[in-house]
Symmetry: C2
């Protein structure tokens, strides 16, 4: 009865970019697409009905977070994270590997997935933090929970078991997401381990998912180094994955090149997910260089803090100039928030710390990103990607030379 | 074009209870009814669509809060608090007088509107707190803002001007809500001042609202004292109000008597609003003794902290016994939350401090109270109030003798 996983290319651009359709047991995803993040089986403040009305096609939940709370067995009893949260469409879970990075090398240092180029960890910082919460060994990773300090263990096999129980349509092989500041030697070591973990993930998942209900994506690593990224893409391309994730980390300026190196090697007929990325510039670069899926918490996280996407660049709605501005967050925007509320009202809600002041801007920012990917898709079909990109970015990033 | 304010009695019970219909320029309210509270022009975490879907007929906003933030002029520019928050139905604002109590006598003492009978303010506490934030004089009240300590002034005239700008269909005369612990002498003094303020409110409102767009309700005070309550009802009944509020405060066990004393005197043909009340027992007592409207923040405030109304009494959803309970918050409940989510999911959301963990229980608790008043109304029409009350309360308050 369930329709198995499939990916069809609909249209190819001159370079690597393409439009396609992913089929999952819970519906289709028109790609390129923005994947909405529901970390703990909830997209912060949003009901599934809100997600549908803003055009979301697919929700990604975080394995690490659900593993710790409420635990994968409870989610499995609910029928998986999608029934648990009452989302009926396609779903993904990540591998838990990103937390190896965010609780390990980077924990408490302020270094994010994408380095700005002016950051550096002192060896003391690095060692101290790593010892504190994460220990990486060949078999797997020991974590201390960020919630209560309790000790946990993830390995390729455990990640597959947990993701099997969480029940998403698309899951990821267990990987190590290294710091963008790590040395070549460390990136190489981590990448090679990630390849061994990919093989173990594939083997273990095949034992669990004998009817092939879940699609398994391998995760390409290798940091900012061309030879490592190419080696990673070649190695994973030879394995029997249904698709690929391109894992961070990279310096912002390298991101485009990294994606191009990788996607020139990965098999064309399988979908590619750019993990944890999506500011507007990033998704244009990603699509142009062959990526099909993007997930990012930025739209909702920024919205909760008052940062609102508009086609003229982001605005901070808490700014006093919006106190008496009775226009919508963005003129001509068709989202629920813009059709029904004013900047003055959302300014008031945010200043008053009202719950709805976090919800309404989140609807708008998610709509903005989901719609942007839909427009990008349409521009590929229309063969107008280059002009659309130029027009969009010259308006959005007025201060950047393009 | 606008339909003016009107109240029609549909059915009377043997005693004081009745069912009716209030007509406002923004629609009808079938009474008795539960009024949903949107303190700062937002019912915490709820969109107006959610309010409609759970059956809300009318929203009350707080004059004091909107006066301080964003200020009544901004709300007026938006066309009133209802357009500001995109609520299209009937509306009310309170007078600001309750804050005379909550920031004055009671501030920081933990004494609420309804005393439990075992509370007492020391004179030192009382004086200290009163001096700190509120000064009450014949002309009006000086406040220090709870937000930033800035000084503000409310008087009957200012309250009418602010409420005129906030633009609700039903507004309240400026009153002083005293502490349930205040002496007879103070209650009498405050009540007499409230009567003078009622007269000034009426006079000033008539100057502002020359077309009689807003209905003005006078507020009966007098604490727990029969002679004061009766005097207050008689005095206000003689003034040209469109309806009446019955202001706190009283000891819990006195509430029913207080309401009866008052409603035996107030003119039958005008609606009566029991201000800031409604736990389930309270609304039965209120209806039975002649009240038509009830507002209370309890359903949403309790919900945000995990306390969920059910017909078998409240439950605390954060309790570990709900971790794997995949039934709805309440069996057979027709609210959005119960039709789509489980106790286990809401337990998880609350334990994970997810925004939706505050929203979904609020939908349920509001639906519970709004529906309870609808059922009570139906029982009046069916002449089955007594048996409905007995059945409901014996199940809800299993531990109480009725």
């Amino acid at each position: 009865m369930q329709k198995k996983f499939d990916f069809k290319l609909t249209k190819k651009m001159k370079g690597l970019g393409r439009a396609g359709i992913i089929t999952t047991p819970h519906g289709e995803i028109q790609t390129p697409a923005f994947v909405v993040v529901g970390t703990k089986a909830s997209v912060k403040g949003m009901t599934p009905e809100m997600l549908i009305s803003l055009g979301s096609q697919v929700v990604l939940a975080n394995t690490y977070h659900l593993f710790l709370q409420p635990g994968e067995d409870i989610v499995a009893e609910a029928g998986g994270f999608a029934p648990f949260m009452n989302w009926k469409g396609p779903t993904m879970t990540d591998s838990g590997g990103f937390q190896v990075f965010s609780l390990g090398e980077a924990f408490g240092t302020g270094v994010s997935k994408v380095a700005r180029g002016d950051e550096a960890l002192s060896p003391a910082q690095s060692t101290k933090k790593k010892e504190k919460l994460v220990t990486i060994e060949e078999d797997g990773v020991s974590f201390r929970s960020h919630l209560d300090g309790s000790t946990h263990y993830l390995s390729p096999e455990r990640s597959m078991e947990i993701q099997w129980k969480l029940g998403a349509d698309m899951i990821f092989a267990f990987d190590e997401c290294t710091s963008p500041l790590a040395s070549f030697e460390y990136q190489k070591e981590a990448m090679e381990r990630t390849h061994r973990w990919a093989k173990r993930s594939l083997g273990h998942h095949n034992k669990l998912d004998t009817e092939k209900v879940q699609a398994l994506f391998g995760v390409v690593q290798g940091g900012r180094f061309k030879d490592l990224r190419e080696e990673s893409a070649r190695t994973l391309a030879e394995m029997d994955f249904d698709g690929f994730g391109i894992g961070g980390s990279f310096n912002k300026e390298d991101m485009k090149s990294v994606v191009r190196w990788v996607n020139e090697i990965l098999p064309e007929e399988k979908p590619r997910h750019m993990l944890g990325i999506g500011e507007p510039l990033d998704v244009f670069d990603g699509v142009e260089n062959g990526c099909d899926l993007f997930d990012c918490v930025s739209p909702t996280r920024l919205a909760r803090h008052g940062r609102i996407y508009t086609h003229d660049g982001p605005i901070q709605i808490k700014n006093a100039r919006f106190k008496k501005d009775f226009s919508p967050l963005e003129k001509d925007c068709e989202c629920y928030t813009c059709k029904n509320y004013t900047r003055a009202y959302i300014h008031h809600l945010q200043k008053s710390q009202e719950l709805l002041g976090q919800v309404l801007p989140s609807v708008h920012n998610l709509y903005f990103m989901v719609s942007l990917l839909k427009k990008i898709r349409q521009s590929i079909l229309d063969e107008s990607f280059d002009s659309f990109k130029k027009e969009f970015l010259s308006r959005y990033y007025k201060n950047l030379s393009l």
